[in-house]
């Protein structure tokens, strides 16, 4: 019974070494993001009236990387079924729809009537 348990049980046990590496990476990310906030990283003038500031982009990028590490390794998504991966992706997608489409209204208000 136990051999069958191991055979069909695709459950991958993540090793503590992996966890420690990820932990280290998360700490590095935290330090980086605090550091980055102390510098003015400039902006990108895409078009008149449309500027992208790099500070928030960097902060969110680092936060997203940290999030991905937690999701993939601490939450085992890297070793999970396709269904789990799809579920996580669906959650992020819906979050982005909520934020993105709402912000689309706010950002385009200043564009005037037509």
């Amino acid at each position: 019974m136990s051999e069958q348990h191991e055979q069909e049980h695709e459950h991958h046990i993540v090793s503590p070494v992996t966890y420690m590496i990820i932990f280290g990476a998360l700490l590095v990310g935290t330090a980086l993001t605090v550091l980055a906030s102390y510098f003015d990283l400039g902006e990108w003038h895409i078009a008149p009236g449309l500027t992208l500031f790099w500070n928030p982009v960097v902060a969110l990028a680092i936060a997203t990387t940290k999030m991905m590490l937690v999701v993939l390794f601490f939450m085992h998504v890297k070793y999970s079924s396709k269904l789990t991966k799809l579920t996580v992706a669906a959650g992020f997608f819906m979050f982005l729809v909520l934020v993105g489409m709402t912000l689309a209204d706010y950002f385009t208000r200043a564009w005037g009537r037509w």
Binding site: L83, A90, G91, M94, V97, L98, M101, T102, A104, D105, Y106, T108, R109, W111, R113, W114
Partner: protein
């Protein structure tokens, strides 16, 4: 069993002189109040839900009666304008949150989904029970609030009216809706998990009954949309209690933000309400035309498409509220797209009927009503999704008529269709056919008299949510109220005869409709564990030939037993 091949005629009842309701079934398994209040059996929970939503439906319906009575005269004759505001608000809140959203999923969905997929119960029975308790707490809270003065903001809680300018029970009502929302989330979560993980051997996704697909799509909406409503209500409560200002323009907030967050849920909510009803119609149309649903794959995918696209169109409720023109353009375009999958379903049902052997039992009458009325309601939605015409029609009775056509003419008819269709399975007894057909026709006529004039009123410019109106609108209003009284009769009759049938209805047997679907292979009412052994699904959905083979095999076996 009827000696003829059972496929061509519909209603096949066992010999009434010898037939009995099976002694051991989910209703008789255990007795006592606690066995019901602490049950994990999805069928018992479905029964609890059925009784509860009927209760809330009648409160909501009574409020509707009050609205129509008030609108008989152009002046505010029956009640003060403030009271009228409370009446239509509570009507909306009770009907939407405590009747329509849980109606098909929590009753029929809970009852049928495990059986349809060949499982013994839903994946999370305790969560299912919790879901019912949350619903009851939320619902009772809502009714209590109503009795102690109610709320008068409209069911949409629009800010800053709801946060700053009314002194009614906004916070308590918001709390009631918040709690009921979690009931919905847990039901949806349970369904998704069950459908993914508990299908019996052989039950592939494309062998599932379309009712399961529809509930699955609705469940996605419940799980992803309802939490946004929850946080919106929390923000309204905080703003009202502490005067913060995230929706208050004087403090730098934005009332439109509330509307974005509110409608992000409330638009998918309408698909939560209609999708399970569409699932019922698929089952009923197939059974009563003795044909598999035309374009099964298209109908299945269209359910999911409605769910996905339904998340992208919410700002079509906000065209006149101050969103940017560009946003209005995008949302209008997407709204046009979301109409397509719904239309695909209607076409597929129509093609199912074509060359089918159609009979007109009560569930089928309601299904026909659905198809016609939902089509009208849906088409009028296109006028509202077009920004230009929406400017004229929004906040008028045209909107009221539109959503009542889809919700009442559509959803409620689908609910009644489903209740009649699965009544024999649920209770073991048939409802009386003639009076139920009469009630269905009365409902259809009453509905049209009530709500069709409201389209005209809306086009003529009568605003919604007004207790008084210009005298030239009175004739149509009187017409509408007269229709409402007929509609009321149409809804009362089922309560009476369905209750009557519990004791005096004909014994139904396992499969009175000769329908396909695993639930019809069990006894009526079913055992607590649904199946004595987990079935193996070896045929496609709506496979009437398989059913015929089954019946022939059974008759053969009985013949052999008899001849021995």
């Amino acid at each position: 069993m009827s000696p003829t091949t059972a496929v061509s005629t519909i209603v096949t009842l066992p010999d009434q002189s010898t037939a009995r309701i099976p002694k051991m079934n989910f209703l008789t398994k255990e007795n006592g109040l606690l066995s019901w209040l602490l049950t994990g059996d999805h069928k018992r929970i479905a029964t609890l839900y059925l009784i509860s939503i009927t209760f809330f439906f009648f409160i909501g319906g009574a409020l509707a009666g009050l609205i129509r009575l008030e609108l008989l005269t152009p002046q505010t004759s029956l009640m003060a304008a403030d009271t009228y505001n409370k009446v239509f608000t509570m009507h909306g809140i009770i009907m939407i949150f405590f009747f329509l959203v849980p109606s098909v999923p929590a009753t029929l969905g809970n009852f049928l989904i495990p059986m349809m997929i060949g499982a013994k119960d839903l994946a999370l029975p305790k969560v299912n029970l919790l879901s019912w308790y949350l619903y009851i707490i939320g619902g009772c809270m809502g009714v209590y609030v109503m009795a102690s003065g109610g709320v008068d903001t409209g069911w949409t809680f629009t800010t800053p009216l709801s946060t700053h300018y009314v002194n009614t029970h906004v916070i308590s009502t918001a709390m009631a809706a918040f709690i009921a929302g979690f009931s919905s989330v847990f039901t949806g979560l349970n369904f998704i998990v069950t459908i993914h993980k508990m299908r019996c051997p052989g039950m592939t996704w494309f062998r599932l009954p379309l009712f399961v697909w529809s509930n699955y799509a609705a469940s996605i909406l419940m799980v992803l949309g309802t939490p946004v409503l929850a946080i919106t209500l929390v923000l309204v409560m905080l703003e009202r209690a502490f005067g913060i200002g995230v929706f208050d323009p004087t403090k730098g907030g934005d009332p439109i933000l509330f509307q974005h967050l509110f409608w992000f849920y409330s638009h998918p909510a309408v698909y939560i309400m209609i999708l399970p009803g569409m699932g019922v119609i698929s089952e009923v149309v197939s059974t009563f035309s003795r044909k598999r649903v035309f374009g099964y794959t298209a109908v299945a995918f269209s359910s999911v498409a409605i769910a996905v696209f339904g998340f992208f169109v919410w700002a079509h409720h906000m065209f006149i509220m101050g969103i940017s023109n560009y946003a209005a353009l995008i949302f209008s375009l997407l709204t046009m797209l979301v109409a397509v999958p719904s239309a695909i379903k209607i076409f597929n049902w129509a093609f199912t009927l074509y060359k089918g052997s159609i009979t007109f039992e009560t569930p089928m009458l309601y299904a026909f009503g659905f198809m016609g009325l939902f089509t009208i309601g849906g088409l009028t939605g296109v006028f509202l999704g077009t920004t230009g015409t929406d400017i004229h029609l929004t906040e008028t009775y045209f909107i009221v008529a539109h959503f009542h056509f889809v919700m009442v003419g559509g959803m409620l008819m689908a609910f009644l269709s489903g209740m009649h269709f699965w009544w024999p399975k649920w209770t073991g007894r048939m409802y009386p056919e003639k009076i139920s057909q009469f009630a269905a026709v009365v409902t259809f006529i009453g509905f049209n008299f009530t709500f069709f004039p409201q389209f005209i009123l809306g086009m003529l410019g009568m605003p919604r949510r007004y207790a008084s109106y210009p005298p030239e609108f009175q004739a149509l209003n009187v017409f509408s109220t007269a229709g409402a009284s007929i509609l009321g009769v149409g809804y009362l009759l089922p309560i009476i005869y369905l209750t009557w049938s519990l004791k005096y209805g004909a014994v139904a047997g396992n499969n009175p409709w000769q329908a396909t679907g695993l639930e019809w292979q069990t006894q009526s009412p079913p055992l607590t564990e649904n199946f004595t052994e987990i079935p193996v699904m070896d045929h496609e959905a709506y496979d009437y030939e398989w059913l015929e083979k089954q019946d022939l095999a059974k008759m053969q076996a009985e013949k052999e037993v008899a001849s021995v």
